[in-house]
Every structure is written in C-alpha cells, then in structure tokens.
Amino acid sequence: MQDPIVLEAKNVSKTVPSPGGALTILADVSLSVRTGESLAIVGASGAGKSTLLALLAGLDSPSTGRVLIAGVDLTELDEDGRAAIRGKHVGFVFQSFHLIPSLTAIENVMLPLELRAQRDARQAAAAALERVGLTPRAEHYPKQLSGGEQQRVAIARAFVAQPAVLFADEPTGNLDTATGQRISDLLFDLNRARSGTLVLVTHDRGLAGRCNRLLELDAGHTVNTGQAAN
C-alpha cells in the first residue's frame, strides 16, 4: 500500500500585475508528494521556484488552482487559517537562515514550540540542538555563530516541531561547498530518521539529486518531472 499524499497542487497558477499588464509567474503546475518522499524543485533564477514553494507552503495564495496540505485545501482558508495549518504541519529552512537576531540559538529553536504553547519547549529545543551538534552554542546569539552554525540552528528549529512537510529554500545557497555538504547531509539524515517529507528548492543539481523526485521549472512552466538523477 502506498503512503498517503500529504501535499498536493492542482493546476496552480500565479499572475501578478505589472506595468506591462498581468505577468504570469507560474502557469498550471500540478504535483503531489507522498509522506516520506523528497521532492526537488529546480530551475534557473526567475523560473518560479520560490513562488511555487510559497504557494505550496501556504505563504501565498495562487491566482487559480488549489493547494492541499494533509488533505486541507489552503485556497479555501484565510491568512490566519493558513497560518494554523503551517503551525501544525509545516517546517521551513531558508537560504538566509532567518534567525531572529535578538534571540539566542536555543530561543530561536524554541520559537515554533512557544507559538504552539508547548510546555517543554526548552527541553525539546535543547534536544534538537544536540541532534545538530550545537549544545555548546545554545546560549549564543546568531551574530556570534558562523554561517554553517546558523543554518544548523535553523534546521534544529525546523525539525523541533516535527512537521509533516519540511520546505527548504536553497538551504546551502549561502554556504561554502564543504559546509554546504555537511548541512545537506544533516538535513537528509534528520529527515530520513523521522521518515519525513521534504520539499527542496535549489539550483544545485547535486543537492537535487539526493531527492527521490524532481520537478523542473522554466519560466513558470513545468518542463520535467520524474525521478532524480541518482
């Protein structure tokens, strides 16, 4: 029996107004991802990767089409409704880490748990930091950490709430090759360990190749779907 579909996009399009008339950023994209799968969204700059990620994660609404997470149609929800779904089912890792500069490493990791009013936030965050090997840096502020360390904190923060789907937007884009390699190892290891679902946006073919499936975009259109290279 196949794993259930946890994320689904049906004929999703996004157009925005521009000085030269309506501009289509994304045209009629459909996809579905099952629990435990990993999907890489690839394409050149401006292909619409980040726009698709924003729509899939419920950060933005499509102009037409529907997006479902865990069976819930996001297009029928308002911003607060989508926020509730994100809080319950979605985790993020960003290219520029997005740690809050006024919070220490452990406080950044605690944030999603605190938003859910989870009681043992600090213990859970400490455990998550331990899994990414940053226990000694728990009380450090982001600016006291290296880029790789900051991304490890971001990964700990993404996993601590045990999301059904983890979205990663160019997670190694701001890191050197060696550090990027270590970060992607960590990301995939942790995801595999909990049999989670991963949606990854990247233009790094090597990183994309570590996913089960691949979706390639060009100028907002799907040009290739299928198994990743290796």
């Binding site: 980040s50 990620l53 950060l59 809080g87 999603p112 938003l115 859910r116 600016k143 880029g147």
Partner: protein, 829 residues
C-alpha cells in the same frame, strides 16, 4: 495568556538586545518632561496663585452691605479654613480743627490671611512687614492723613465717638488694590473698637468682608457652597476675579508654561512616531517568520500591543521618578527666586503621564503596528514583499484625535491647542511638500558636485519618502526648539515691554473741573509732565433695548455689578492706545454729540450686548439713551486709565462730575504726594505700585520657569533628532559596507553621510525658521495679545543650528556604522 507570556519574553529580549532603546528613550523623555513640567508648574502656579491671593488678602472673600452671618464663619471653621473679618466705610477723621475723609478699615486678629501688611515709623519712610494689627485704642494711618492733619506718631485723633492714638504709618495692605473702591486714604483700627466709634448705624454705607483661606480643595468646596447659598447683596470674590490686571498677567504666565509643555509633548509624539516606525521595521522579518510558523494576525498584534503597553508602564515608572527628581532640582535651583513656600508636589501628573503615554502609543505607534500585523509571510522568501500600505487618512485622524485629546487634557485651552496643532500641521504639510521638492532638486544637483556629496545627495533623493519623513521630523523638532529658544525670548521680552518701567503707578481721581488748571500747573512744576485728564461721570444703567437689565440674566457676579452699581463713564474723541476695536467702528468728528457708546468686551459679554443695542442710563437724574457703536478689547494690564463705557465728545460735556489721570512716580518723587494732597485735599491718590511689583514678580517667575521647562523640551528635541537619525541606520549600515567593499575610503563614506545630513539639516532649518516665525506671530497676536516683532535671529539660528546640529549629530550617530568592518555587516544581512 499565551500572548502575554510571549510579549513578556519578547519585551525582555528586546530590552536586553537594545531593540527598544530609542522608543523607550522617547517615552521616558516624554514622561520626564510631562511630569517634571507638571510637578513643577503645578507647584509654581500654586505659588503664583498664592501671590495673587494677596490681592484679596485671602483665598476667598465675601463682601456684603450687611454684617456677614456667623454661620458662614462656623462653616468655614468646620472645613478647616482660617477666617478674618474686615469692615470698611468712609468716615471723617478729626484732629483739633482739621478733618480728612478716610476709608476706615476695622480688622480682626488674623488679618490679612494672605500677604502681609507693611508699616513705617515716618510718613513715606522705609516700610517693614508686620504680622500684627493695631491694638485696642490704636490706629495705623495713611501718610496722606498724617500730612493733611499735621500729625506725628503718638498723636491722638478722633474717629466718631472714640479717640485713637496713631502708633504706625500704614504703608501697604495686601487688599488695598482690589479696585477703585477705597480711594480715600486708609486708616486701620481693631475690629473690637468699632462699637466705641458708634459710627455703624442702620443704613451706614459700610462694606463687611469675610476673609477665608486654607487648602485649595476646601476653599473650592466652600466657594461652591457659598455661591449657592449666599444672599442677593453678598458678593463672592476669589483669586480668579480678584484683579483684572493680575489675572491677565497670570493667564499669560500660564500660557507660556503650557506652551512649553505642549512643545515637549509634540516633540515626544514625533519621537514616538519615529521610534514606532523603527520598531515595526526592525520586527517585520521576525513577524513574517512567526506567521510562517503559524502565528495568527491577532496574535501578532496582541504581542505588539501588550509589549508596547508594558513598555509604556516602564517608561512611566522611570520617567516619573526622574521627573520628580528633576522638579525637586528645579525648585532647589530657584529657591532664592521663589521666596514663598511652595506647596508639595501633587501626584496629579502621574495619571496624566500614564494616559498621555498610552494615548501617544495608540495614536502614533498603533498605525505602524497594524501594518506590522499584515506583514505577508511570503516575505521570508523575498525581502521585497511588504505589508500593504496603510490607509493614511484613518491613521492620521486617529493620531490627530489622540494628540488633540492629550494636549487638551494638559492645558484645557481649546484655542491654544488648536493654534499650536494647526501651526504644527501646517508646517508639517509645508515640510512634506518642501521635502519632496528638495528630493527632486537634489536629483538634478548631484551631477555638479564631488563624489562624497554626490553620494550624500544621491541618498537624499534615492531614499525619497524616507528623506521626506526625516525632513519633517528634523524640521518639526527644530521648529519647536526655535520657537522656544528665540520666539519664547521675544514673547517674554514683548510681554515685559508691555509693562515698561515708567508705567503709571499712581492714579489721581476726584479732580474737580475747576481744579484741572491748577493741578496741571502743579504737576508740571514738580516735573510730572502733563498727563491726559479723562472726564468722569457716574451713571446707572436703567434699560437695555427698553427692558430692565436684570431681566437679561447678567453672566456672573461681575456682570451683575454692571447693572446693580453706578458705572464710571467717560468721553473721548480718540480710542485709547491700549484698546483694540473688535467690532463696529470708532466715531469721527462728525459723530460728536450723537447718542453713541463704545463698550468693553467684558461688558458686552456680561450683558449679552451686540452692536446696535440701545442702552439707557440715568446720568445724575437725566435719562440718556445711546446706541452701541463699537466694542473694544481692553488690555487691563497696561495700567492706563480705562473705562467700560466711552461716549463721543459733546454728548455729556455739561455733566462732567470729575476728572482722573495717571502718573509715574519714582520712589524719590513720592514725597511730593504730601504736597499734592495738601494743596488738593479733595483729590484722591491711588497707588498701584504694589500691584505693579506683584505683576513684575509674576513675569519674572514665569520667565524663569519657562527657561527651565525649556531644558526638558530641549531633551525631547534631541531624542527626536536621535530617532530621525536612527530611522535610517540599518539601511546606512548596509550601504556603507557595500561602498567600502567597493573601495570607498572611510572618509569618503563619512563625508557622504555628513553631506546628506547637512543638506537635510539646512532644509529642515530653513523651513523650521519659517514655521517658528509663523507660529510665533500667531501665538503673539492671537493668544498673548502682544505685538510680535520679526527677529532675524530665528533665520540665522534656524539655518546654522539646523545644518550644524543635524549634520553633526547625524554624522556622529552614523560614525559607528561606518566604522563597522564591512564583512561584519554583510554577513549579518
């Protein structure tokens, strides 16, 4: 609950990391200036009121043609008020064959309850204060009586059926200047001696006064009770009504102080706007992230609102404590200048500070927070995604309403608040438009200047609306500072000029027509010049538009006096210098003899009169009906003879009863009064020197208080500048790092920053000078009734201070940004 926990944690983290320092500083300075000004001015104004109370010799004074019932005194005693009795009536004083009409004052032991009497050992000799009153069988008398009756200290004189020994020369009683009632020279005796004189008979023309004094609240309560229960003939007088001249001075002093505190609040509001904008811009990424993790909009808003409310509480606590310390310091600094004991500071400014800070946050910080709430979560992926712009109308109306409410609650003077608000808004609009114009202009200018200037000017134009916001903030800050620094000095100087050193300090009344020529001669030969003599006729109003004046419900006790008592009328071909026509027109030579009248604005308001109304008078038994031709606003604190009612010449010429005039006498010239009184015994001399000194005292204190209050406003102004500089700090940090990475030297970047801030300062300073001049003119004319003279220093200081202050503070505050190694900044981005 979760939002509260979150907000508490956020607040702690934000405070720890310095994210909130500008906003907190702005709020603390706002509270500090509000409370320090509040504590200080409430104490000083109470001190000034205490001085004003001297004029009544009490806080509250009830005058009656019949003895004041004992029940009033019993009631006052139950309320913890002090009381005293004064009985005043005209009587002749005899010494041998000589006699002199005098105003006899009989007083009880506590008299005066406010202020102190002064006595001397020789006529017109050096006076000293005293807390005593004459003993039984003793009298203290005016030097003019001594001169007229050829007495010495120790002489005996006769008042009615009793004999009294003259033991002191009476120099000054606090309540001697309460009006033109006691024109005759005064004699003071003990209240218990009245019976012995046997002068008080049924129908005697005596005025009984009951004096009360005590804590403000008790006095106010008692006043309310008395005003409801007093008999028709009884007249209540409190500090507000005690003297037109003094009231006018106190009113102006209060307006100066209020103006200074309004300025602090306005500046603090500008700082809060800047601080809140920065708070919102610094939190926008964190909010986007939190929304990304599932936070609802209401939750985000709740956190911000709770956090800011807690911040307000912290600011109020710290600011109030500092404010209290600051005002104690002020009182200590001014201890030699404020001789009277100041009452303790009341806690009244505390709730005002709390409400003001909350209103400021709601009015000025809420709009950016509402915008923060709508931050799209997709911002985590693309920085260019921002919240939709606010509907400006709504947020501005909210902010304006809050500002108006705050200012009004502070000063309760709608006209002042509207003027200041209109001035600031007008300047704000002009600054905004001018800001846009400058931004366009710099775009053209940058081709012709060096690299640093090009970078600086380019920044001004590139930041566009950000630059405009900075220009408005700098401009408003500078304008208020200029208004206080220069215009305040000018206004105070104009105020002092309105009461020059040689203003008349003696009034001569009861001059009979046949004495005029001789008196003129006397005055000229003694070097007093030839002052204008005003004819005076006493008349009683009998009808207004054919109806009994009582039926028109006169407004207040004073207006009732207009219809119940005889009024002094005069006639004049020209309007008096210190009178300002507010309605109608002044008569021409052709109007001579026509039945017209010009009335004062108080008279018009008190009796609900307008142009064209017909007033009927009984002038020495002759009926006279005249039409209201004009209404005049009189500057009572000019100390020139002034009349509620002025007729054209030729109408009453035959009816002239007496004349009056006014003189300025130096201390050296005062002894000449003895000769004057001797040569013209029927002329009454009325000395207002003491009131003049009181008013000058109030001016001095008010000026000093305003100078010190200005220090807090200055602090508020500096925070505004700081907040305006801070508002673009993050952007500058990044730009500076980029420029330095591209090879620009530290010096070039710094010069660019200096160029940008100097340009902003130059423009803000110029516009602020315009604004300060306009608002200063408006304030002088509309609120202070003063002639405002244009001061070129406003422009010089506006330009120079604007450029230097903004240029220097902006560059210094940004220096650390430029000094940060580029790699540190770029890594943070």
């Amino acid at each position: 609950m979760q939002a509260l926990r979150f907000a508490l944690r956020n607040l702690w983290r934000d405070l720890k990391s310095g994210e909130l320092s500008v906003l907190l500083l702005a709020l603390i300075v706002a509270v500090l200036s509000l409370t320090a000004v509040g504590f200080f001015t409430s104490r000083v104004s109470q001190g000034v009121r205490a001085q004003a109370a001297e004029v009544l010799a009490a806080d509250l004074r009830l005058e009656s043609p019949t003895p004041v019932p004992q029940s009033y005194f019993d009631d006052a005693a139950r309320r913890g008020l002090l009381s005293a009795r004064v009985l005043t009536f005209p009587t002749a004083i005899f010494s041998g064959d000589l006699s002199q009409l005098a105003a006899l004052n009989a007083v009880t032991a506590n008299y005066p309850l406010r202020g102190r009497m002064r006595i001397a050992d020789a006529p017109f000799g050096t006076a000293r204060t005293t807390d005593k009153i004459p003993g039984r069988g003793e009298t203290w008398i005016d030097a003019r009586i001594i001169a007229q009756l050829k007495l010495t200290l120790g002489s005996m004189l006769r008042i009615g059926a009793a004999s009294f020994r003259v033991t002191q020369v009476l120099d000054y009683r606090p309540d001697q200047g309460t009006g033109f009632v006691n024109l005759a020279p005064a004699a003071l005796i003990n209240y218990d001696d009245i019976a012995a004189t046997q002068l008080i008979q049924p129908g005697s023309r005596a005025t009984y006064a009951a004096l009360f004094a005590g804590p403000t609240a008790a006095v106010t309560d008692f006043r309310e009770t008395l005003s409801k229960s007093k008999a028709p003939g009884e007249r209540l007088r409190d500090i507000e009504e005690s003297s037109r001249q003094l009231n006018s001075a106190i009113d102006r002093a209060g307006r100066f102080l209020n103006l200074a505190s309004l300025a602090s609040v306005l500046l603090a509001a500008v700082a809060v706007v800047m601080g809140a904008r920065r708070y919102a811009s610094r939190h926008i990424d964190a909010v986007a992230l939190m929304k990304c993790m599932g936070a609802a909009q209401q939750f985000v808003l709740a956190i911000s609102v709770i956090e800011l409310t807690l911040l307000a509480l912290i600011a109020v606590a710290i600011g109030t404590a500092l404010g209290f310390i600051a005002q104690s310091g002020l009182v200590w600094l001014l201890r030699s200048l404020i001789p009277s004991e100041l009452p303790a500071a009341s806690s009244a400014p505390l709730p005002i500070a709390l409400v003001t800070v909350l209103a400021m946050l709601i009015g000025f910080a809420l709009p950016p927070l509402l915008q923060l709430k709508s931050t799209p979560p997709a911002r985590v992926l693309r920085k260019t995604v921002t919240a939709p712009p606010l509907r400006y109308g709504v947020s501005y109306i909210l902010a304006l309403a809050a500002l108006f409410a705050i200012l009004w609650s502070l000063v309760r003077d709608t006209e002042l608040v509207l003027s200041v608000l209109a001035g600031v808004l007008g300047v704000g609009v002009v600054l905004t438009l001018a800001g846009f114009a400058l931004v366009r202009l710099t775009t053209r200018l940058r081709g012709g200047v060096g690299v640093a200037w090009r970078y600086g000017l380019a920044n001004v134009s590139r930041r566009g609306s950000g630059s405009v916001v900075q220009i408005v903030a700098f401009g408003l800050g500078l304008m208020v500072l200029l208004l206080l620094a220069v215009v305040r000095g000018d206004l105070l100087a104009d105020w002092r000029r309105s009461l020059p050193a040689n203003v008349p300090n003696n009034f001569l009344v009861n001059i009979r027509p046949e004495q005029r020529a001789a008196l003129q001669e006397f005055l000229q030969s003694h070097g007093f010049g030839s002052p204008e003599m005003f004819p005076m006729v006493r008349a009683r109003i009998t009808a207004i538009n054919g109806e009994s004046p009582q039926s028109l419900k006169p407004r207040g006790d004073v207006a009732r006096g207009y219809v119940e008592r005889e009024q002094n009328l005069t006639w004049s071909a020209n309007i008096m210098d210190d009178n300002q026509l507010v309605a109608g027109s002044w008569w021409t030579a052709a109007d001579a003899g026509k039945p017209l009248v010009s009335i004062s604005s108080e008279y018009a308001e008190g009796l609900h009169l307008k142009l064209g109304d017909k007033l009927s008078f009984d002038v020495a038994g002759e009926p006279l009906t005249v039409t209201v031709a004009s209404i005049r606003k009189i500057r009572w604190d000019s100390f020139r003879p002034n009349f509620f009612l002025v007729f054209p010449p030729g109408l009453l010429d035959g009816a002239a009863g007496t004349y009056m005039t006014s003189l300025f006498l130096t201390d050296l010239q005062r002894p000449s009064l003895v000769d004057l009184v001797r040569q013209f015994p029927t002329i009454s001399v009325f000395d207002v020197d003491a009131i003049l000194k009181q008013i000058r005292g109030i001016m001095d204190r008010a000026s000093l208080a305003v100078q010190y209050v200005f220090l807090f406003t200055l602090a508020a102004g500096i925070v505004v500048l700081l907040a305006a500089v801070q508002s673009t700090r993050d952007e500058r940090r990044y730009e500076s790092a980029m420029l330095r990475t591209l090879g620009a030297s530290r010096g070039t970047v710094l010069q660019g920053v200096a160029a940008e801030f100097s340009a902003l300062g130059f423009l803000s300073g110029t516009l602020a000078a315009f604004g300060a001049t306009g608002v200063g003119w408006l304030l002088a004319r509309r609120l202070f009734s003063l002639e405002y003279t244009l001061d070129p220093w406003v422009w010089v200081s506006g330009l120079v201070c604007g450029t230097i202050l903004v240029g220097l503070s902006g560059t210094l505050a940004t220096r650390s940004v430029v000094n940060t190694p580029p790699i540190v900044t770029l890594r943070d981005e």
